[in-house]
């Protein structure tokens, strides 16, 4: 039963954090280069711009769900299972989602990198 809770949490973390990453990335692309904005208009303008972007809040909600799923999962499964399993699956899910929803150019180079990182993160847990 403990194992089932841990894997349910892992599934929830992957879906929620991928959704959150996509939404937040979309929001920040809309805001524009934060460093440039800060230099030109000051920090308040940057914060105002970010807070005026609706997808930022949706992304935050998704990240909140992912965060509490992680706490839930960590309390049931070992850190060495929950953290790497959810992290490595999230890398792969994000590579597909970024291509599909953000139209990022995820070529062979980035797909291979996502798989290498996912494999590496999983190995680190052993």
């Amino acid at each position: 039963m403990k194992e089932a809770y841990a894997w349910a949490a892992i599934g929830l973390i992957v879906v929620a954090s991928t959704t959150g990453d996509i939404l937040l990335s979309h929001a920040m692309k809309k805001v524009g280069d934060v460093g440039e904005l800060w230099k030109r208009h000051g920090l308040l303008k940057v914060i105002g711009r970010v807070l005026a972007t609706p997808t930022f809040f949706l992304g935050l909600v998704a990240m909140g769900v992912a965060f509490y799923s992680l706490l839930f999962g960590l309390s049931w499964g070992d850190l060495s299972l929950v953290a790497p399993a959810s992290a490595s699956l999230t890398f792969v899910a994000n590579a597909f989602a970024a291509r599909l929803f953000l139209h990022e150019r995820v070529g062979r180079r980035r797909m291979l990198a996502a798989l290498l990182v996912a494999g590496g993160v999983a190995l680190m847990a052993i």
Partner: protein, 141 residues
């Protein structure tokens, strides 16, 4: 990519690794949280380890948002995984813990993956974004 941008990416890696480690340490104190006492998850933030972890994760979030404003998601994410490597190396050289061959292999794979992405472009050129920038510049002038 400027030095400042690499610094932001380093912040993403360091803060996420340190924050996750502290959170994990705190949750071990609390023990198993079941579906019947979900409220204890909300009270978890009162634990000092969890609270410090959350502070570091806020710093992670700020640098992550900043990085996403000028780089692709599929460029920033692999960089964040360098945190795992940092934790392992700190354990090896800071605390003299041994690292198993499998973990060395994991470190090699992550480093290779990050190197692969870092060697390529950081942002997919977008016609719409370019048009936005031009219209903004026109509006300002």
């Amino acid at each position: 990519m400027t030095f400042r941008k690499y610094l932001v990416l380093a912040g993403v890696a360091v803060f996420s690794a340190a924050g996750d480690s502290l959170l994990a340490r705190g949750m071990k104190d609390l023990g198993g949280v079941s579906l019947h006492n979900l409220s204890s998850l909300i009270l978890a933030i009162l634990d000092p380890w969890v609270a410090c972890g959350i502070l570091l994760l806020l710093a992670f979030f700020a640098s992550y948002m900043s990085a996403l404003s000028w780089a692709d998601l599929t460029y920033v994410l692999p960089a964040s995984s360098l945190g795992y490597v940092l934790v392992a190396l700190a354990a090896r050289f800071g605390f003299h813990e041994s690292i198993s061959p499998a973990r060395w292999m994991g470190i090699a794979l992550i480093t290779a993956g990050v190197g692969f992405v870092a060697a390529g472009p950081s942002l997919t050129p977008s016609r719409k974004l370019a048009a936005d920038v031009i219209s903004q510049q026109e509006a300002q002038s």
